[in-house]
């Protein structure tokens, strides 16, 4: 394998990993605080991508489209939270999983209704290339990675420096105590859910120019996002970042070695990690229900 291929492979892996990270963080936060498994994050991802597609067609600016996707992801998440999740926070974990799967499948039906089943291309915002170690690398992919790390920093600051963020962190430890302190837990849940939906919408908007937008796109990344969450450990932000980058690199470098490996290798990595540590890399036993 020559160096050029390796460098572009690593950059590709980082950008894919960034998208996975943005989506998995929502799942991880929702599990940590509300104890739900919110499969419908994949719906907000598709919604974000489709809004990006439509807005970039209408306005001609993809960044505006991504912004619209982010907002749309947040709004849909808010509606779903108010209509459905509100009623099921108290229930078992599997209950939320089944319900959110219903939301995901139903949402895909709605997307098919509005946009049809044909895959749509979204143009890349900038075609510029930058030279890294003698390899031409698309700037857009580097931008995606940069945005993911900015989001990580932002989430970290939010969770550690603001009152709401601190309340969320405390809620991950023990929700009832937080409620006892007089904090409106129900509003906290809504905020967390909207943040998760927004980030999934961002992931969709950023990923759209790199792939074709089609109604099943959520289900296509589903397996990878779950691998990220499982490897990192449910409820851990840092674990999610680390494992997203691992999965991204495994997908990208694996496909350089032997193309079909890209789909299979992450699965093998996940099984290995689960064998050694059934709670994932950073998942603590404390989070056990």
């Amino acid at each position: 394998m020559d160096a050029q291929l390796l460098v572009s492979g690593i950059i590709f892996g980082l950008s894919i990993g960034s998208v996975f990270f943005l989506m998995a963080i929502g799942l991880s936060l929702c599990f940590g605080l509300m104890r739900i498994i919110s499969l419908d994050q994949l719906l907000y991802y598709s919604v974000g991508a489709y809004i990006t597609y439509t807005l970039s067609l209408v306005t001609g600016s993809i960044w505006l489209g991504v912004l619209g996707g982010v907002v749309a992801g947040g709004i849909v998440a808010f509606a779903v939270e108010r209509l459905i999740f509100r009623r099921i926070y108290e229930r078992e974990l599997t209950f939320s999983m089944i319900t959110s799967f219903g939301v995901l499948i139903g949402g895909i039906g709605v997307i098919k209704f509005f946009w049809g089943v044909i895959p749509r291309p979204v143009p890349v915002p900038t075609l510029a290339q930058v030279d890294i170690f003698g390899t031409d690398v698309p700037v857009y992919r580097i931008m995606v990675v940069a945005i993911a790390f900015l989001v990580y920093a932002g989430i970290w600051l939010f969770l550690n420096r603001t009152i709401t963020g601190k309340a969320i962190r405390a809620g991950i430890e023990d929700v009832e105590h937080v409620e006892g302190l007089g904090i409106n837990v129900s509003r906290l849940f809504t905020i967390t859910f909207i943040i998760a939906g927004t980030l999934s919408g961002l992931a969709g908007g950023l990923h759209a120019p790199l792939i074709m937008v089609d109604p099943q796109m959520g289900l296509e990344v589903l397996a990878f996002v779950f691998m990220v969450v499982i490897i990192g450990g449910l409820g851990s932000i840092k674990g999610t970042l680390v494992s997203a980058m691992i999965v991204g690199q495994v997908v990208s470098l694996g496909s350089l070695v032997y193309a079909p490996l890209a789909q299979m290798a992450p699965f093998a990595v996940m099984l290995l990690i689960l064998l050694v540590k059934p709670t994932g890399l950073y998942g603590s036993a404390m989070l056990k229900k």
């Binding site: 459905i84 209950f95 059934p278």
Partner: protein, 328 residues
């Protein structure tokens, strides 16, 4: 003799009704219902009895279907041997992945199974495209030889065969409910610590239940393969992973006859609705959300206590063990 009759009559009645419905309903519909209910009972058993929810059942369905398909496409012609190979490949795969999966918590278990379904899809569609013919699928309808007694290559006799298989599968699951093993499955769902205290191994019980359930699913896959005469990766496509879970909940989780009732309702609705709306996912998704919010007991779960009350009013004598009376 009487005891044996009491034990069997519910199952025999259910399948006799299915056989009778053949007079009014088209054959493909009834066969679909029978195979689908065999497909679903594995998921229902895992969810209702062992407390494991699995979004990955299509993976095992595909394993059974492809096991049968490989045999009939490349090696032999006897459909019975094909089904046997499908079942054996189901046992093999679940025995390989089982020890890894059943150690996980219920939520991780669901996600890992979902991942497995997607992996199997890609495996069959892309990685093994040379031998599975990718998206085109394997066509082997003409390879299936006629067999004496029950000729599986004719739809009518295949229908009889599928009913017999159904009776056998339901007999097996009803028997499991009566055994110590069935009680242990319930116990591992409700309180694993106490079960450990009684000297049973949670791990072994779960592994055994996992293998039984997924072997049943593989059997359904093998029957699909014989019935349709072709297998394509579509069988395990990510969009269909929710089907068995939807049907399980629709019918009533963990009840013996829930899967049959659910399959009838689901297949019927699919046939009726897909005539009017092409957009099938939209409907399943919202149906699932609705059932979950409406109280998750499902059709049979709601119907059964009423039927039981009706029966016990008619005959004051002991409620028969059949008709799912003792279940749940």
């Amino acid at each position: 003799m009487l005891n044996a009759f009491r034990w069997w009559w519910g199952i025999v009645l259910a399948f006799a009704l299915l056989a009778l419905s053949r007079l009014y309903l088209p054959l493909p519909f009834v066969i679909e219902v029978v195979i689908f209910s065999i497909y679903t009972i594995g998921c229902s058993f895992l969810l209702g009895r062992v407390g494991f929810i699995s979004f990955g059942q299509p993976a095992y369905l595909a394993v059974g279907a492809y096991g049968t398909a490989f045999y009939l496409f490349y090696f032999g012609t006897n459909p019975y041997v094909g089904i046997l190979i499908g079942i054996l490949s189901g046992v093999a795969v679940s025995a390989i992945v089982g020890p890894l999966f059943v150690r996980l918590r219920s939520d991780y278990f669901a996600l890992v199974n979902l991942a497995l379904a997607v992996i199997v899809y890609y495996l069959m569609q892309k990685v093994l495209a040379d031998i599975t013919k990718g998206d085109n699928g394997l066509w082997f309808l003409t390879n299936i030889a006629s067999t004496p007694v029950l000729d599986l290559s004719t739809p009518n006799q295949f229908f009889i065969f599928s009913l017999l298989v159904g009776v056998a599968v339901w007999g097996l699951y009803k028997y499991l409910d009566d055994t110590v093993f069935g009680a242990c499955c319930m116990a591992t769902k409700i309180n694993e610590d106490k079960l450990k205290f009684l000297g049973y191994s949670n791990y072994r019980i779960r592994l055994f239940a996992f293998i039984i359930a997924n072997t049943t699913t593989a059997l359904a896959g093998a029957m699909y393969a014989i019935y349709l005469g072709f297998v394509s990766p579509e069988i395990t496509s990510p969009a269909r992973t929710a089907d068995p879970v939807v049907v399980t909940i629709l019918g009533g989780t963990g009840t013996l006859y829930g899967p049959i009732v659910g399959s009838i309702a689901y297949t019927g609705m699919k046939d009726v609705i897909s005539k009017y709306i092409g957009n099938w996912e939209l409907f399943i998704g919202f149906l699932l959300v609705f059932i979950m919010l409406a109280g998750e007991r499902g059709i049979w779960g709601t119907l059964q206590p009423r039927l039981q009350a009706l029966f016990s009013r008619k005959k004051k004598a002991a409620v028969p063990a059949g008709s799912g009376g003792t279940q749940r």
